[in-house]
């Protein structure tokens, strides 16, 4: 099938699932049910899109298909920033209570971190193993510091942290939804300036420079874009480690092309399908007896192992 046909089919399927989620057993009290479901589905779709886009871009600039922004610890960094703010300023600080302010501070800090990360990751002669190592260390490091701060913190304050930590698909942070939408739109629009370079970047650093990509600037900007998108998705529903890995690789398998115009659209749609479909199953089939992140992390973990085993054979 032509890639355009596949995109159309995926889009149709995604819309169908969204419609099913919104209208299935909605009863007669539409004024009550519909707005709530619509807000929820919007947050889920936005999260899916942000994670898929960020992961695809990240994997292209690092030339690997195993690491994702989540695996190298960008979403644990989000948690660390939250914990740190509450630890230092207390839960009554406007930086915590005003969710928009909190959101901007976190996004800002993550952008700064991404710029620093660029210096470490993209120096001459870095390879995938170095990236893997740094990623695992960062992830664990952020997680441990967060835990450490949480242990020291006042128990009442900890409750607030916990609330942030366990944002999930059943407990979407809808206060910042409009803000998140606007910021995602701006970020993706900004990334589009660099989109033409993505295909060439997948050839690797040397070829990209040889073919006239302003490599340093492009990669740094794209890494910041990735950080912003991960911050948005984590703020909305909390960390989902393996979703990006899953959808980026499924998109590669499905489209078998190097063209990012298809890969990016495709992975965003697959991600929306996975999340909306998954949430539909969790709510209507399992009736909330499990959570979507558990299912995704399970499937993603198994797939990750499969990828590692396959890579080790090749």
């Amino acid at each position: 099938m032509h890639p355009k046909g596949k995109i159309a089919a995926l889009a149709a399927f995604a819309l169908l699932l969204i419609a099913a989620f919104v209208f299935y057993k909605s009863g007669t009290n539409w004024d009550y049910v519909l707005p709530r479901r619509l807000v929820k589905i919007a947050a889920i779709a936005l999260t899916g899109a942000a994670i898929a886009f960020a992961t695809m871009v990240f994997q292209t600039i690092t030339n690997n298909r195993i690491l994702t922004p989540s695996i190298i610890g960008l979403d644990s960094l989000y948690m660390l920033i939250q914990t740190f703010i509450i630890f230092v300023f207390g839960s009554m600080s406007p930086m915590v209570i005003n969710k928009s302010v909190n959101f901007f501070i976190t996004v800002g800090l993550m952008m700064i971190f991404a710029a620093l990360l660029y210096k470490v990751l993209f120096k001459e002669g870095r390879n995938l193993f170095f990236l893997l190592l740094v990623g695992i260390i960062f992830g664990t490091f952020f997680g441990s510091i967060s835990t450490f701060l949480q242990v020291l913190i006042d128990p009442n304050e900890f409750l607030i942290v916990q609330d942030r930590m366990f944002a999930s698909f059943n407990n979407v942070n809808t206060d910042i939804l409009a803000l998140a939408f606007a910021l995602t739109a701006l970020t993706v629009l900004y990334a589009m300036r660099y989109a033409k370079y993505l295909d060439v970047l997948s050839l690797g650093r040397d070829h990209a420079i040889g073919l006239g990509v302003p490599y340093d600037r492009t990669v740094r900007q794209l890494l910041i874009v990735v950080a912003v998108l991960i911050a948005i998705s984590t703020a909305l529903v909390g960390p989902i480690t393996f979703l990006g890995l899953l959808v980026a690789n499924v998109a590669h398998e499905l489209f078998r092309t190097y063209r990012h115009s298809y890969l990016l659209t495709g992975s965003v749609l697959i991600s929306v399908i996975a999340l909306v479909g998954g949430q539909f199953v969790v709510e209507r089939v399992f009736t909330f007896s499990t959570t979507l992140s558990v299912i995704i992390n399970f499937i993603g973990g198994v797939y990750f192992l499969y990828l590692l085993l396959r890579e080790s054979k090749a």
């Binding site: 060439v200 050839l203 690797g204 040397d206 420079i209 040889g210 073919l211 006239g212 302003p214």
Partner: protein, 252 residues
């Protein structure tokens, strides 16, 4: 003309290229020779901006490379490194079409495809142009990468050990193509070679490096000479003239 002025590259404080100055003339084949670790590849990388230089200046057509826009430089100089590992699945035709990126930014026009077709024909890859890179032999793959460089249509073509892993037949084939690019298309080719006899048979000018410095440079006949090679390689290499070419006998 490419003019390297007093260029130094440090790795961990140690110079791998040490205050090198050299001028590379147009419409010629220039080869860099020298023992391992002489800094040949690093010098080539710096000229193509793959590696940053710590000191010095490099002028291409009288303009410092730092003052070129990335895109502009990619239309003037192309580079092919010795290892070309690519993570994605591409056909030869896909790969060669990437060579047009500096001109088309990914949206290839009819004109661009004409260059792609021409490059594929020039490298005699028409029959296998739709094969994937991972299905090719080393020689075919190397030819595909050279076709990409050809499609890039730059005045200067830099190649880092283009004969790496190739058998005799393919080595000769590639050297002949490079020679034709200079003679027929008016390109300027610079390559790093390990085999002094290939350098002798195909280049016009040779630059010999050792320990990050230029030991000798000159027209081919002056460099392929027993005392000069002794200085470069610390080895006694008798030179014989066979079929008009100066050949070093270094096997025993």
């Amino acid at each position: 003309m490419i003019e390297v002025r007093d260029v130094t590259k440090l790795y961990g404080g140690k110079p791998v290229v040490d205050s090198v100055s050299v001028a590379i003339a147009r419409n010629q084949i220039t080869s860099f020779i020298g023992p391992n670790g002489a800094g040949k590849s690093t010098l080539l990388s710096m000229i193509s901006r793959l590696a940053d230089k710590d000191r010095g200046e490099i002028f291409i057509n009288d303009r410092e490379i730092g003052r070129y826009k990335s895109n502009e430089l990619a239309r003037t100089v192309s580079i092919l490194k010795q290892t070309n590992h690519i993570n994605i699945r591409l056909t030869i035709r896909d790969l060669v079409s990437f060579g047009r990126f500096p001109y088309s930014q990914g949206r290839l026009t009819k004109e661009d495809w004409r260059y792609v077709d021409e490059a594929i024909r020039y490298m005699e890859l028409e029959d296998i142009e739709n094969k994937y890179l991972d299905q090719l032999s080393g020689g075919q793959r190397q030819r595909a990468f050279i076709a990409m460089v050809l499609a890039q249509d730059t005045e200067y073509v830099l190649l880092d050990e283009p004969l790496n892993n190739l058998d005799m037949k393919h080595s000769v084939q590639i050297m002949k193509v490079l020679r034709r690019m200079v003679d027929e298309l008016g390109k300027t080719v610079v390559f790093v070679l390990h085999d002094i006899n290939f350098a002798s048979c195909y280049s016009d000018y040779i630059v010999a490096l050792k320990g990050g410095k230029i030991v000798r440079e000159g027209p081919t006949a002056d460099i392929i000479d027993t005392p000069v090679l002794r200085e470069v390689y610390d080895m006694e290499i008798p030179i014989e003239t066979i079929g008009g070419n100066r050949i070093g006998i270094y096997f025993s």
